[in-house]
Symmetry: C2
Subunit: 362 residues, 2 copies
């Protein structure tokens, strides 16, 4: 099975085997050592000296945590969305009572940084900006450095970043950019099964936490900080994924984080070239194209649903379809974590064979 | 290592090995089959025909979910607490804005059902009652059938039950008792690693959900229901634990749920007898003593901290200490899941040897 969706990703065997490690006491000495070690390793990959916490949750839980720990009902928030996950980020803030102003870019485009500048100029009451670094639904990587410069250097607002499908795969220098909260999840470039989420939390975010009035308990970062001081989790965590995280982090740090980024870029380039070589069109704009997930237009004369089922049934390759309004219009190829050129070549070859079989009757 | 804390528990080898199953598409056909199968199996163990959802979270996340899905800020809530987790249940409701009235029983005692009747009589505005079925911090199983009779039959209030360390180990007939929400977590009698939580949700709970105004997104049961209809999860779940859950459920249902309860009772009896035979005193009242965790008084002349470290270092046995105000006063022996008489005998023998070495200087 060649699982080529943008997470869960195929987990390398040695990391997968560690998932079967016997249980330990999550309030004991062995766990304390593990928690200390993986927290330090995660900070290196996040390129941060901010606090860092491990939640037992999907990435969406970490998105919610970033909001409820820094904001209050009634706060004005700017949400710059280019897809499903950007919309979700704003929705969560809105559900918790924030006044959300949304800048929406068309699918396949990135956020135009200047639109954020204009919005912040126009509405000085805006307290925080929500940005998805890598929009998994469209295969777009937003220009976070430019955005961060505006949000932090020009306006000094709280910057909350969904880095779920970018951290560890695409450069995201948390401290250099001044990101207050960065959220990510284990089933992406970390080469792990889903179930853990990671969250960096700046001093500035802590200042916001002090006056934050959104209700929270399971996701209250103060609970995690209180227990981290005694090297414990506040609540029983997904231990198995932490055992695997330990191994994955060692591998990532041994390879070197810059090399990991470079490897993701190279495999993404190979994917994009392969797609164009067989006459398909990339969906995302070239200047914002993602190095973790490639979105591809389904030609008008091709039955997209049939294409994905043919890829699955005849070639054992699992691709992701388009979400919501992009359903039937694009498909997506995930290449996060340890993805080989051979795996990508197999996808391209199989697409080449499958496309003619999936023509719509004209 | 003999891990004898009340969760995480030692996971049987065949279930542990399934944790290393390769990843699949959580929006694909294979997952749809898995979700359908384990949801049906969970309902059998919960003894319910109510809706049932799988959350990627610790048990505390499911406690929060039970509250935020059924209540609104300002709602009057009765919390009957006999320990740390009972307190937590009320705290969560209070943080989300409920008006919480607490009946607190002394540690080691169970809830006196009549106190609930009196409170509900006195305050007709109370909308929901929060009860921990098995209080892990004190080793007490509350008389849920009597409580449920009062809450549901006499007063028809919403009944939210923390069944984290009981469901699957101690009889809890969800439908027969009329429990509106029952929450539990994977690292208990389910014989699984931590990381998943399970939640049953009644029609009455759905009525409450319709008018519930507590904010929620990650824990919003409506998201889970919407996706369950197309046999998908709303958010990427902890797949590995679901693979293991499938095997664990098959084992539990093959053994027969009544036999599983009986087995837990027998091993708990053996533990209680063993403790008393070596001259130690049980902490919980006999009539409410738990079949998943046994709490034991630390004699006045024994150094409790030294006792636990001696058990760990000399005998490879991990016991749990007391939490909060019970720290140093009790220790706890977990016997959920597949626990053998031999494992319990080893604990008793090791305690017998260790106690004389841990005397306080008098």
């Amino acid at each position: 099975m060649n699982l080529r969706i943008p997470g869960p990703i195929p987990v390398p065997n040695n990391i997968l085997e560690a998932m079967a490690t016997p249980m330990i006491n999550h309030r004991g000495l062995e766990f304390a050592d593990l928690l200390k070690k993986v927290t330090a390793g995660l900070k290196q990959v996040f390129q941060t000296e901010n606090d860092l916490y491990i939640l037992t949750a999907s990435g969406t839980g970490a998105m919610e945590a970033s909001i409820v720990n820094t904001l209050s009902p009634g706060d004005n928030v700017l949400s710059a969305s280019v897809g499903v996950f950007g919309d979700r980020f704003g929705d969560i803030a809105s559900i918790y009572g924030a006044q959300v102003e949304t800048i929406k870019s068309p699918a396949g485009k990135g956020i135009e940084p200047n639109t954020i500048r204009e919005s912040l100029k126009k509405n000085p009451k805006i307290k925080a900006v929500l940005v998805v670094h890598n929009e998994t639904s469209t295969g777009v990587t937003n220009p976070l450095p430019e955005i961060a410069k505006i949000v932090k250097n020009e306006f000094n607002k709280i910057l909350l970043v969904d880095g779920i499908s970018s951290v560890g795969s695409i450069p995201l220098k948390t401290d250099l950019l001044g990101c207050d909260v960065v959220a990510t999840a284990s089933q992406k470039g970390w080469m792990l099964p889903p179930g853990l989420a990671f969250l960096s939390f700046s001093q500035n975010a802590w200042e916001a936490h002090k006056i934050s009035k959104m209700p929270k308990f399971y996701f209250d970062i103060a609970n995690y900080e209180k227990y981290l001081k005694i090297k414990q989790p506040p609540f029983t965590p997904a231990l198995s994924i932490m055992f695997s995280l330990d191994i994955a982090l060692t591998q990532i740090l041994d390879e070197g984080i810059e090399n990991v980024f470079k490897r993701h870029f190279n495999i993404a380039e190979a994917t994009r070239n392969g797609i164009e070589n067989i006459g398909l069109e990339l969906f995302a704009d070239k200047n914002v194209t993602s190095n973790t997930v490639t979105s591809v237009k389904i030609p008008d004369n091709v039955d997209g649903k049939l294409l994905l089922s043919t890829m699955r049934e005849k070639h054992n390759i699992i691709l992701a379809g388009g979400q919501q309004e992009l359903s039937g219009k694009i498909f997506r190829i995930g290449h996060l974590g340890l993805c080989t050129y051979e795996e990508i070549n197999d996808v391209i070859e199989a697409l080449k064979k499958s496309l003619p079989e999936c023509k719509l009757a004209s």
